[in-house]
């Protein structure tokens, strides 16, 4: 697959299942095994959930655009665009994950979605400019 596959959906939680189906199809077509299909799907779900919840929120509306491309090495690049509030990943607190979670307070697990995205994908980069809005790029490298 070398052509670009794109999906434009309303930036609402109701769109998440459609996004999940789309990205799973793209990742399967690109030759990823079911474990990696699941990982890509989860990372994209977390990313789009953040867009709906934080970039758009209850008072803003707009679309989410996903654009997927596989390069010559078989790596899958997913670009996600929205027109919501600028997202700055540096202000999101790191979640406390690991064995010392026993005294956890759920307030300390903010940033869990971001944690999953970084854990599941090989590259996660956020960009913002006034014209394009938020632009997130995630790359999953081919295991071949």
């Amino acid at each position: 697959m070398s052509e670009e596959k794109t999906l434009r959906v309303p930036g609402r939680f109701e769109s998440l299942a459609e996004i999940a189906d789309f990205i799973a199809r793209v990742a399967r077509d690109a030759g990823f095994d079911e474990d990696d299909v699941f990982r890509v799907q989860m990372a994209v779900d977390e990313a789009c959930s953040n867009v709906v919840e934080h970039a758009y929120g209850p008072n803003r509306a707009g679309d989410i655009v996903l654009s997927c491309r596989v390069d010559g090495n078989g790596d899958l690049r997913v670009d996600i665009y929205d027109q919501g509030r600028p997202f700055n990943p540096d202000v999101v607190p790191e979640p406390q994950v690991g064995a010392d979670l026993l005294d956890v307070d759920e307030m300390k697990v903010g940033g869990l979605g971001l944690f999953f995205m970084r854990k599941l994908m090989d590259e996660v980069t956020f960009h913002f400019d006034e014209r394009v809005g938020n632009h997130l790029t995630m790359v999953k490298r081919s295991a071949k």
Binding site: L16, A20, Q41, V52, V97, V109, L112, G113
Partner: protein
Amino acid sequence: MNGAVVQEILEADIVRVAPQGRLDTFSVPPFEQVLTEHLDAGRARLIVDLAGVTYVSSSGLRALLSARRRARTAGGDVALCSMAQRVREIFEMVGFISLFNVYPTADEAIRSVREGIPPGA
């Protein structure tokens, strides 16, 4: 079906809650509402049966964590059962697997919660 939640009250304070399909940011609020209603009604021993769940997002994990905290404050707990391998991996990735009592089947979870037996005993 995403967003559907099967519920079975087993004893005065024990309930089995079985969400279905994807537990994503869309379907978590009704699931969380169900947990909250049981906790508000004094049912603090919650068994969350994940047999029908294919996916759990971070919002699902947060809902479970929040319910667990409330249940424990009330002298109960949240036990999980029947997790698919992929769902289990999500819990393992963030170390949540050690936070919850996890049982292979609903029957084992129900028996243990009824008798107050910790898992593995």
